[in-house]
């Protein structure tokens, strides 16, 4: 039950019961044990679907942040038979919160870039909890230009609570590193597919998120501010984060309705952490489909559509 989210507890209890019934059935099969297994299986699936359907935005945020959730390099491991990581911004350092490199994605050669979190303290120190410094954004841009030069599609996997708010990051101009990427990604003469695989935290997410297709995993979120940050401003306390998560309309479903994202990639029942290999299959296929569509377009059309896509964001009246 370690790492279980509150709303997962009944489900996990039921799964344990089911496992136990299966074990008994295997040891000494009978009509009774078979009936019990079938009944528990059916209850399990109903409960799983119920939970999935009724997840609140805040519960989805918790899934998006789950420590067992597959991270960027987990997906790369599952999807890419080859990944050649390339390091450094060629100026000051190499940001381990933002790995990038050439990869075979399914059957395609691509450039993959993304945020990487850690699972334990040691890894999180290395990965800085998935919060990149300016070096990370500059490395990303350097390698995206490399992809453009050699006609490789770019796959950007977004998973960050936000860009790092530290003294060094400010001194080395984190704001400009993000802004520069926003402008330059708009001009990349190669297809760009961005997928928010976990947390889409504000400018830190958008800094590698200007793309021809922006997709979200089913339980990922994308927001201008963290629910805690919003709660601290509006309700003066972080404990109101669940209300803030609902108000911000940050879930895949809400973002889709707002016309901000181009598609939702399904996750295994209960969330990607229940079956990373299954989640990887959906991610792989979703990205390949998007690349295939984008590659049909002449580059000027691709660039124009990318511009118009972002140009259209915003709601207002004119009277």
């Amino acid at each position: 039950m370690k790492n279980a989210l509150d709303f997962e507890v009944p489900l996990i209890k039921l799964r344990d019961e089911l496992d136990e019934a299966r074990r008994r059935h295997q040891l000494s099969p009978s009509n009774n044990t078979a009936t019990l297994v079938a009944e528990l299986e059916s209850r399990f699936h109903v409960m799983q679907q119920d939970i999935n359907r009724n997840l609140s935005p805040w519960e989805r945020v918790q899934i998006a942040r789950h420590v067992k959730r597959p991270f960027m390099l987990d997906y790369v491991k599952h999807i890419c038979p080859e990944f050649i990581e390339l390091h450094g911004d060629r100026h000051i350092g190499d940001d381990h919160a933002m790995p990038a490199g050439f990869a075979i994605w399914g059957d395609r050669k691509v450039l993959v870039v993304g945020h990487q979190k850690g699972r334990d303290t040691k890894e999180n120190l290395l990965r800085n909890f998935g919060s990149a410094h300016p070096e990370g954004y500059r490395k990303a841009m350097r390698l995206m230009r490399l992809a453009e030069k050699f006609g490789l599609p770019i796959v950007s996997l977004i998973d960050t609570p936000g860009a790092y708010p530290g003294v060094g990051a400010e001194e080395r101009n984190i704001a400009e590193a993000i802004a520069f990427n926003l402008r330059e990604m708009m001009t990349l003469r190669t297809p760009v597919v961005a997928v928010v695989i976990g947390e889409g935290g504000s400018g830190g997410a958008l800094g590698i998120g200007i793309a021809d297709r922006v997709l979200l995993l089913e339980n990922a979120y994308y927001s201008v501010i963290s629910p805690e940050g919003c709660a601290a401003i509006l309700w003066k306390h972080r404990q109101h984060a669940p209300e803030a998560a609902a108000a911000l309309k940050l879930s895949a479903q809400d973002l889709s309705q707002l016309g901000i994202i181009d598609g939702i990639i399904p996750e295994p029942a209960g969330g990607a952490h229940h079956s990373p290999s299954e989640a990887a299959i959906y991610l792989k296929e979703g990205v390949l489909k998007a690349i295939a569509e984008l590659e049909k377009l002449p580059i000027p059309t691709l660039l124009d559509q990318r511009y118009q896509k972002f140009r259209a964001y915003g709601q207002f009246t004119n009277s």
């Binding site: 003294v167 802004a179 402008r183 940050l250 707002l258």
Partner: protein, 277 residues
């Protein structure tokens, strides 16, 4: 709506409370009491110590443009409440009432020492200068007009960042404005970004730091994250002068600090190098 509205006592904001009849304003830097009319005449710069008070967008226009050249654009764009955020509509209305502005940015065409430019001037008084759909759209339209007309664009920033109440739509304005600047830049046209107090968050992380030339007013606060957030995250003391214009200049993050009375001539001098013909 006239841009150059006569200033009234109400425009003085919170300072008026401890000042008799609003005739005097106390300088937060040197503590000197300043006669309101003298302060206005001095472009809201303390006559004693040079402290730059925040300036409203209409005042800024008046301080920059050749007389009678400024024509406002897109004044009729109005915010809606796309997320159904509680209290947002009322907040916008109250800020319109308070400032006499439609939104947190004023855009238009004007001339600076006879050089035609597109101007976008943010006003911090309006919901902290925050960028929602309308602010992003107005700035984008100004940049696109500059591109279409072969003109320079000048943006004066003053903002707490992206507007929370419009959620993800506010975040996307960063991409939208930056995209418009990509096209403006490809057309080899000049963009001058002027940072004024304060410029933070999503505005700093989009158009404000993309200037061909970046200027700042003295003493203004510039940063990505707020100083409080940085302090809470890092649990460390902040360096002296952290996130001020002077700190930014020292770290090579902006081109020049320009005092307000020299802004107009500096912009014109720069533009003469950056425009052909």
């Amino acid at each position: 709506m006239p841009i150059f509205k006569k200033r009234t006592v109400d425009d003085l904001g919170e300072k008026k409370r401890d000042m008799p009849e609003g005739l005097w304003t106390k300088c937060p830097s040197c503590g000197e009491s300043l006669y309101e009319q003298a302060l206005v005449k001095n472009l809201r710069v303390c006559t004693h110590c040079g402290y730059h008070f925040t300036m409203s967008a209409p005042e800024r226009v008046a301080s920059l443009c050749d007389d009678g050249t400024f024509v406002e654009m897109d004044a009729t764009l109005n915010s809606v409440n796309p997320l159904g955020f509680k209290g947002y509509v009322e907040k916008v209305a109250a800020n319109q009432e308070k400032t006499g502005l439609g939104e947190a940015v004023l855009t238009g065409r004007g001339a600076i020492e006879s050089i035609p430019v597109l101007l976008a001037i943010m006003d911090f008084r309006f919901l902290g200068g925050s960028m929602g759909s309308v602010v992003g759209e107005k700035i984008t339209r100004a940049i696109e007009a500059a591109t279409a007309e072969g003109k320079a664009v000048i943006v004066f920033s003053s903002s707490g960042g992206a507007r929370m109440h419009e959620g993800i739509l506010s975040l996307m304005q960063m991409g939208k404005t930056s995209g418009a600047l990509a096209r403006h830049s490809e057309a080899r046209l000049p963009f001058i970004s002027v940072l004024t107090h304060p410029t933070t968050g999503g505005v700093t992380a989009s158009f404000a730091t993309l200037g061909d030339v970046i200027l700042a007013e003295p003493g203004c606060m510039i940063g990505f994250a707020g100083a409080r957030v940085v302090k809470e995250t890092t649990h460390a003391d902040l360096p002296k002068g952290f996130q001020t214009a002077e700190f930014m200049l020292q770290h090579g993050l902006l081109d020049r600090i320009v005092v307000r009375k020299d802004m107009r001539t500096t912009l014109a001098a720069l533009l003469r190098y950056m425009t052909r013909g």
